[in-house]
């Protein structure tokens, strides 16, 4: 039986924590508790020297538990676990107290914030007493990959993985590959042929022996875990096939906003009002004409339709400005004499070569008119017989400060983009979450834009948020890199904080089996006890709280640990009991 020796480290995080929490006092107070061998405060615990501090203390003082009181464990739990590991201590003998995101940053009273910090650190202290060493396990990786969605992002991911000689299953709901890009005539800002680039990509996909393409196919169900997924698909809605693979790339894309909900634009009520996607069709066919066959003399392009407006979507759809500039140029060439009006809010020409296209468009005699996308929106109405045009758009022009009328024979609505209706279903199938706008959430908005919180599942392209073609491709390849990396390694480590059953305590009621969402628990008929498949188990702990006899332990979140944590929070004057490991 080893004596419990705890090291407590309170981080300043520069001034982020130290400004609102008296970190020195916290360290001093916590240092008084028995079993706490050392309590320090330091400017940046996450820094190299900060970690070094822990490592040295473990080695010199023989610490066998560590508590770091710093930022959210979602940010640095892994960092410190690694430090423990380096010092030869099991990484799970560690607990973090979040005194930044949930304390110093949200409170304004230094005394209260410091008190709260002490409570939180004390609770962590109580919890870590009962931590047990856990060991990571690895799972073999099935080298095949499932790509959901046959748009440019999905195809790029598939090609990249298949290019390394690895198997890819590419599943597309529609009849053909191509997705949104198939509707485009040219791409911005280079005005290259979208069709040619897409056909090239599709041809490469179809030719690649490592890619199995399933079009017209829906995914019935996906189960399994990283390295060993399985899904049931039904190609052409006929019989079901099962596929096995190790990683999933979700590239389901997005859909366009339906402008008929905006009353000002009268989409669907007046004949020559088109969405940007309908207009792409005209460009492809070379016939830019009104419904009655006459070419328009005045064309108005309205930006931010359904975007950047709280009544519709607050976010910016990112690609519409540049697409609109592309249209303006195409219109200028096809209809050299026409008046072209671009009704915009902020011109977001920010990619490589985009500002240059904006500047070029200006020189090509396109009239730019600025409106307030948050309203009141421009109003389209039918023109009178003497107006020499079909419609009149009235708006408050912001750059001149005047109320103006814009003649139009054709109006193009730059519809924004939004998440697909079936996004939720996909999210459930693969076990990822969605943000408020129903786009999928990445693991980290900056440093991990393609991974998700579910191991082995990646999100690429516009299903993660609106983006243009090169950015979608970059993401697709980023996911491919990650997948090729795991395939190259051959295995991946899996969840360690799983549940397990103490067969002696199990009464065989099977309540746990009913509540498990992953069918990870089965019943051993002979012994009449439950059994947890720890690869399938994701460690939610629902079974643990349902178990009437306490036979189920949820590792790292055991009943004992959590109850002790509660005690730690509440019993400020009581010293923690001395425990033995």
């Amino acid at each position: 039986m080893e004596e419990v020796k705890i090291g407590v480290y309170v981080c300043w995080c520069g001034t982020n924590i130290a400004k609102m929490v008296d970190v020195e006092e916290v360290a001093k107070e916590i240092g008084k508790y028995p079993n706490v061998v050392i309590a320090r405060d330091y400017k940046y615990m996450c820094s190299d020297p900060g970690q070094e501090l822990i490592i040295n203390d473990i080695k010199k003082l023989g610490l066998n538990r560590v508590v770091v009181s710093a930022c959210s464990p979602r940010i640095h739990e892994l960092t410190f676990r690694k430090a423990l590991e380096k010092a030869g201590l099991n990484p799970y003998l560690f607990e973090m107290a979040n005194i930044r995101e949930q304390d110093s940053w949200v409170h304004t009273d230094r005394v209260e914030a410091t008190r709260k910090a002490k409570d939180l650190v004390r609770a962590a202290l109580h919890k870590v007493l009962f931590h047990e060493p856990l060991s990571e396990r690895t799972v073999e990786i099935n080298p095949a990959t499932l790509v959901i969605g046959g748009g440019i992002a999905g195809m790029s991911a598939a090609l990249e993985i298949a290019g390394a000689g690895k198997k890819v299953y590419l599943v597309e709901k529609m009849e053909s590959l191509g997705g949104m890009m198939a509707r485009l005539d040219l791409t911005f800002p280079g005005l290259e042929s979208a069709r040619d680039n897409l056909q090239l990509t599709v041809a490469r996909v179809m030719k690649d022996p490592n890619i199995e393409v399933y079009t017209n196919t829906v995914i019935r169900d996906i189960f399994g875990y990283v390295g060993n997924f399985e899904c049931i698909i039904s190609p052409n809605f006929k019989e079901d096939i099962s596929l096995q693979f190790g990683n999933v790339v979700v590239a389901t894309g997005l859909k366009t906003f339906d402008p008929s909900v905006i009353p000002e634009y009268k989409y669907g009520q007046l004949p020559d009002i088109y969405t940007s996607h309908e207009f792409e069709g005209m460009l492809t066919s070379g016939r830019i004409v009104r419904k009655d066959g006459r070419p328009p003399e005045n064309v108005a392009i309205i930006h931010c339709v359904g975007s950047r407006n709280r009544n519709y979507h607050e976010y910016c759809s990112r690609v519409c400005c540049m697409t609109a500039l592309k249209y303006a140029n195409q219109l200028r060439s096809a209809l050299p004499e026409a008046n072209i009006f671009e009704i915009y809010a902020d011109m977001r020409a920010m990619g490589k070569g985009c500002e240059e296209l904006y500047s070029l468009s200006s020189r090509r005699k396109i009239m730019f008119l600025m409106f307030d996308q948050q309203g009141p929106l421009p109003v389209i109405r039918k023109a009178g017989s003497r107006d020499k045009c079909d419609y009149l758009i009235t708006l408050q022009e912001k750059l001149s400060g005047q109320d103006i009328e814009v003649p139009a024979d054709m109006v193009i609505l730059m519809v924004g983009t939004e998440a697909r209706e079936d996004a939720k279903e996909v999210a459930h199938q693969v076990g990822i979450s969605m943000c408020g706008n129903a786009f999928f959430i990445e693991k980290h908005p900056k440093l991990d834009p393609v991974a998700t919180t579910t191991n082995g599942v990646y999100i690429v392209g516009s299903c993660q948020g609106p983006k243009d073609i090169p950015d979608s491709i970059s993401q697709a390849r980023a996911a491919a890199a990650r997948i090729l990396g795991t395939i190259a390694q051959g295995s991946v480590t899996v969840e360690v904080t799983t549940a397990n059953v103490n067969e002696e305590l199990c009464c065989g009621c099977q309540t746990c089996i009913k509540v498990c969402p992953y069918t990870a628990i089965s019943f051993k008929e002979e012994e009449k006890v439950s059994f947890v498949n720890e690869i399938l188990c994701k460690g939610c702990g629902t079974c643990g709280s349902a178990c009437p006899t306490g036979a189920i332990t949820c590792r790292h979140f055991t009943d004992r640990q959590l109850i002790n944590q509660i005690e730690g929070l509440m019993r400020m004057d009581v010293e923690p009991e001395l425990k033995e490991v």
Binding site: G431, M434, G541, G544, I566, L569
Partner: protein
């Protein structure tokens, strides 16, 4: 001095804890009376944890999970909801005001909502005064 209640909050790791972190990164201020315990899923919140919190003297218990349908583990939050309804009845019978126990759905993007919930709950609990648990325990023993 004004009564400063202590409220224990059980937050699920995926939505609510992230949401609370977001309140932090967005620097949204809220009352300091809340003490958070992180669990992987609201489904992990064993009724004993709640009761333990009350017996230890907590003036309120807040449980937050993902919105219905958004649970990282599919349906843990529904399990939690069922237990919550039972718990409310139970603590009421024990003489603890049911308002002291609250279940809320907070997503990862709802830092502001989390702060509002905390402030609201702190207000409610302040109005109720210190927990009845002491008298309950005294009566029982």
């Amino acid at each position: 001095m004004e009564f400063q209640p202590k409220i224990i909050a059980f937050l699920c790791n995926w939505c609510s804890y992230t949401g609370a972190d977001l309140a932090g990164t967005s620097r949204i201020k809220y009352a300091p009376n809340i003490r958070v315990i992180r669990v992987m899923c609201s489904g992990r919140v064993d009724p004993t944890f709640v009761l333990k919190s009350f017996t230890e003297g907590a003036d309120g218990v807040l449980i937050c999970g993902c919105h219905p349908g958004d649970c990282h583990y599919h349906e843990g939050n529904y399990k939690c909801l069922r237990r919550y309804h039972l718990l409310v009845k139970y603590i009421e019978q024990m003489g603890i005001r049911p308002e002291r126990l609250r279940l809320e759905w907070v997503s990862a993007s709802e830092g502001k909502i989390f702060a509002e919930i905390v402030n609201e709950m702190v207000q409610t609990v302040k109005a109720l005064g210190p927990s009845e648990v002491k008298t309950v325990v005294e009566t029982l023993t």
